[in-house]
Structure formats: C-alpha cells, structure tokens
C-alpha cells in the first residue's frame, strides 16, 4: 500500500490494530503455557526490585538528596524505570530479537511477502507476557513514591505524565527498531541487546546526575531522559510546558526518521537476498 493512499486513515489503521490484538493474543497464550517461567520472572523481578531499593536506601543513608532529587522522587524515577523496562521486555525487545534472528536465518522473507506493512508486522509479532510483572511492580512503586511526595500531584500533572510517558515509549521503540534494523550487518544480535540493556541501567537515576556528555547521549541518542526522567518530573510537579512540547515534537520527528530508516533498510534487505 502506498503511503499516500487515501485509505490510510480509514481502512489500514483499523486493520493494523486488529492484527496487533490478534498477534498479541496468540503470543500471550503461547507464553501462558509455561507457568514455571512466571515463577522465574517473579524471583527475577523481586531481586531486581530489592537491589533498586537498597541502592536508594544507601544513597539516603548518606545524603538528603541526589542532585536535588529527594527520596520519594527517586522512588518515582525507579518505579517508572522498572515499569518501562517491563514494557520494553514485554513488547519491544522480543520483536527486535525475532527480527534479528529472522534476518540472520533468512526467514524474514516470510514477513515481507505478507500483505501488511512490514514495519508494523515486525513490531507486533511477539509478546513476552510474563514480563508484565515488571510493569505492575513498576506502577506500584511509582504510586508508592507519588504518595510520599511532598508536592501534590494535580490532575494536570497526571495528564502531562501520561502524555510524556507515551511519547517516551514511542521514542524508545523508534531508537530500538532503527538500531536493530540497521546494525545486524555489523554485529551479532546478542551484543546489541546487551548494549541496550547496559544503557537502560542508567535510567535508574535522574539524568541530571550525569555529566553533560552522558546526559546528552541519554537525552537524544538513547532517549531515556524523555522516557523516564521527564515523566518523573511530571509527577513531582517540576515539569514545564516547554519540556512537554519538546518531548512531543521530538517523538514525532523520531517516528518520521524511523520510518525513513526502515524503508532504506528494507530496500537493502531485498537487495541483499537477491
């Protein structure tokens, strides 16, 4: 289907949505057969949470604030970090892993021949449903942190939080799919995923803690600042309208760039297999 097709906002979007729901349901049902994985996931998430709490507790054993962030605010940051980590591992990472193995093994041809937009199909094929545990835990920690804030969170703040959170997740998705679809020619998939995982750990703390060069990287190269710190700012009543506008604008720009990069890579792929 051509991008300029007049039915783009009619038929296609609805179809994509229904397709997404179907794929997720099948994938989730597959995963739900393996109950033991749920237990493993719980242990894993609980231990990660304990480590996170210990780190924050240690900081406040020795200080009253970290670069201007108080304990409750850092709990909010941690909650969002855990939650978005869960979103990534449930929805984004499994698809990227699948994309890379498909390309390596040549089975990606099956995706291309399907009568659906390849980027959409690539992004919705897998759901690792047990990782939702992290989303739930992250939300719980966030709520707990918000409850302990001294600043009150108004309805406007909550709304702004929702907006920047979604913009942040979109940005993370964009960066992931751009990098995975571009870099499989250079490195093995495992290394790329490790690198993402490594970078993601920095999101545990507000980006203002980091030195300038790292802060820049985390804001625009791996947009963790937008995905984690900015939503946390919204909840702790530090967010300005300007930041919301930048977050929104940047996410839209990234979506367009991602689309362009995807198209280029797609052409490369068919070229390579021919």
């Amino acid at each position: 289907m051509e991008p300029g097709d007049p039915t783009v906002f009619g038929g296609r979007r609805v179809r994509a949505l229904r397709l997404t729901v179907t794929h997720w349901r099948v994938s989730a049902m597959n995963e739900l057969q393996y109950r033991v994985n749920f237990f493993v996931q719980i242990v894993h998430s609980a231990l990660a949470l304990v480590t996170g709490f210990v780190a924050i507790w240690l900081v406040f054993r020795h200080a009253d604030d970290l670069a201007g962030w108080g304990q409750a605010e850092l709990l909010v940051v941690m909650g969002i970090h855990v939650g978005i980590g869960g979103v990534i591992r449930t929805f984004i990472e499994p698809n990227m892993r699948r994309l890379m193995t498909d390309v390596e093994e040549g089975t990606y041809d099956y995706v291309i021949v399907k009568p659906v937009d390849s980027q959409i199909l690539t992004s919705i094929r897998e759901v690792k449903v047990w990782n939702v545990v992290d989303v739930v835990l992250g939300a719980a920690v966030t709520v707990y942190g918000v409850g302990r804030l001294t600043a009150t969170t108004s309805a406007v703040d909550a709304l702004a939080f929702g907006v920047v959170l979604i913009a942040g997740i979109v940005m993370i998705y964009c960066v992931w799919i751009m990098i995975t679809s571009s870099s499989f020619r250079v490195v093995r998939s495992e290394e790329i995923l490790n690198l993402f995982e490594g970078f993601y750990q920095t999101g545990r703390w507000p980006v203002s803690v980091y030195p300038l060069w790292l802060r820049g990287t985390l804001t625009f190269l791996v947009p963790l600042a937008f995905a984690i710190t900015v939503p946390a700012e919204a909840l702790s009543d530090r967010l300005t309208g300007g930041t919301v506008a930048i977050a929104l604008g940047f996410s839209v720009i990234l979506l367009f760039i991602t689309r362009a990069v995807w198209m280029i890579n797609l052409r490369h792929y068919s070229g390579a297999s021919a």
């Binding site: 480590t51 093995r188 690198l195 490594g198 703390w205």
Partner: protein, 261 residues
C-alpha cells in the same frame, strides 16, 4: 594443556572484534553510573562519606572495571544445557579434568580483556581525573590479586553450578546468590557504606575477596597487613571451597552416570 586451551580460546575471541567493542561499551556503563552517583553525593556531603572521598570513589570504580572484567567466570547456567544435551559424556571422556579445561579457557580470555581494558582505563582516568596514584608495588599486588580473585570466584560459581546435577530448577537460587554477591562483594558500593551488620555478614562470606579486596589494594586503602589479609582470605576460601568442589564433583558425576545408564 592450559596453553593449548588458552590459544584456542584466544583465537576465537579475535574473530569478533566489533562484538568485543560493543560488550565493552555495555559493560562500562554500570561502573560509570555508580561512580557518578557516589561522586556526586560525596561532593554534596562536604567531600567524603564513610571515609571515602569523591576522589576515592572515582579511583574505586575505575579499578572496579578491571576487577569485573577479570572475574567473569563460567556462569552456573551452562550446566543445565550441558546435562540436558548429553554433552557431559563428551566432556568426561577427555583426558583432562573438565574443571581445568573450563578454567583455562576462561583464563585465556583475560589477557585479551586486559588489552582492551588499558585504553578504557586511560579514557576513564582522563575523563574523571582520579588523584590516587598507586605505587608500582601496589599495582603489582593488585594485578596478582585480581587473578587469584578470579580463581576464587570461578570456584564459587562452579560449585554453585553443580547444583544442576540435582535439580533442574536451580536458576532461582543462582539469581539469589548473584544478587547477594552484588550487594556483599563491594560491586554495588564499597562495603564501608553499608551498615555494620551487613559488613559483619559480608565478613563471613567469600565475595568481598573477589571484588573489594583487590580494589582496596590499588587505591591505597590497605596497608601491608591489609594486603596480606586479602591474599590470605583468598587462599583460605579457594582451598576450602576447592576441597568442597572436589567432593561435590565426585558425587555429581556418580549421579550423572546413574541418570545416563
């Protein structure tokens, strides 16, 4: 034997240079996060906390990078696969003990990691500018201590991995031990920042001798007795756990053939 195994492993790593660069980059982020956070706090608290100055933290986490690279050992998770796929038969028929072959193949990576670590350390020193200047003796002692620490950690993880001979659900236990190690070895923060009871707990466990012990030598927080104590504890734990490993290994193998028969 060690030499042949090492050469093989070394050639394997040479094939993946870009991959190595990527994993290095991913690997370096963890200590940078710790470093930045604790340096910030120390500076905000008038220069030092729990006897660590902002500068000490910088030095601590730069030394950390070599220790961490050096103490990567055989993960306990491999045993599940080795047992399930029947690979043990192959391993057991070779003329050398599997433990020594595993140890040699990991040891072979180390010179390679050190080669990669040197430019990395130079960059970190340039960026974060630690003022701690270790003497040649301190550096040599550190260099030996990371090797002995590696052997100790290798024994610990090997011992842990053998649990897979008895149960297929050991992964939860592995995770608990790994988390305990993170908190009680000095990897997350120097143990001095922990409350007293945690330090007491850590003193009863081997973890800190694989991590904080070697670091303290090079950043000059130990005197001669302290340095000797690090080596002493490493030897004691390695010998003790090594003996235990030999015992458990013989049991594990007997159990394995029982399953295979």
């Amino acid at each position: 034997m060690y030499w042949a195994e090492m050469r093989l492993s070394f050639q394997r790593t040479l094939q993946y240079r870009v991959a190595t660069a990527f994993s290095l980059l991913g690997f370096i982020i963890e200590p940078i996060v710790y470093l930045v956070v604790w340096k910030t706090i120390a500076e905000a608290q008038g220069g030092s906390i729990a006897g660590y100055s902002a500068d000490d933290f910088v030095a601590y986490y730069i030394a950390w990078t070599l220790v961490r690279a050096m103490n990567i050992a055989l993960t306990p998770y491999v045993w599940d696969g080795r047992i399930q796929r029947g690979r043990m038969n192959d391993h057991l028929t070779k003329p050398f003990h599997l433990f020594h072959r595993d140890l040699a193949s990991f040891a072979a990576w180390k010179p390679f990691w050190i080669m990669w670590w040197i430019p990395l350390a130079v960059v970190l020193v340039a960026v974060f500018q630690p003022t701690v200047r270790p003497s040649v003796i301190q550096f040599l002692a550190f260099f030996i201590a990371v090797w002995t620490g590696f052997i100790l950690r290798f024994v610990i993880l090997y011992l842990l991995g053998l649990i897979a001979f008895w149960t297929t659900r050991a992964s939860a236990l592995f995770e608990i031990v790994v988390t305990a190690e993170l908190l009680l070895s000095g990897r997350l923060v120097p143990l001095d920042l922990m409350p007293g009871w945690v330090q007491t707990l850590a003193a009863w466990l081997p973890f800190q001798w694989t991590f904080q012990g070697p670091i303290e030598i090079v950043i000059g927080r130990t005197d001669l007795t302290g340095t000797l104590a690090v080596f002493g504890w490493q030897v004691v734990w390695t010998a003790g756990l090594g003996a235990l490993l030999a015992f458990v290994w013989s049991r594990a193998i007997r159990r394995y053939s029982a399953v295979g028969a």
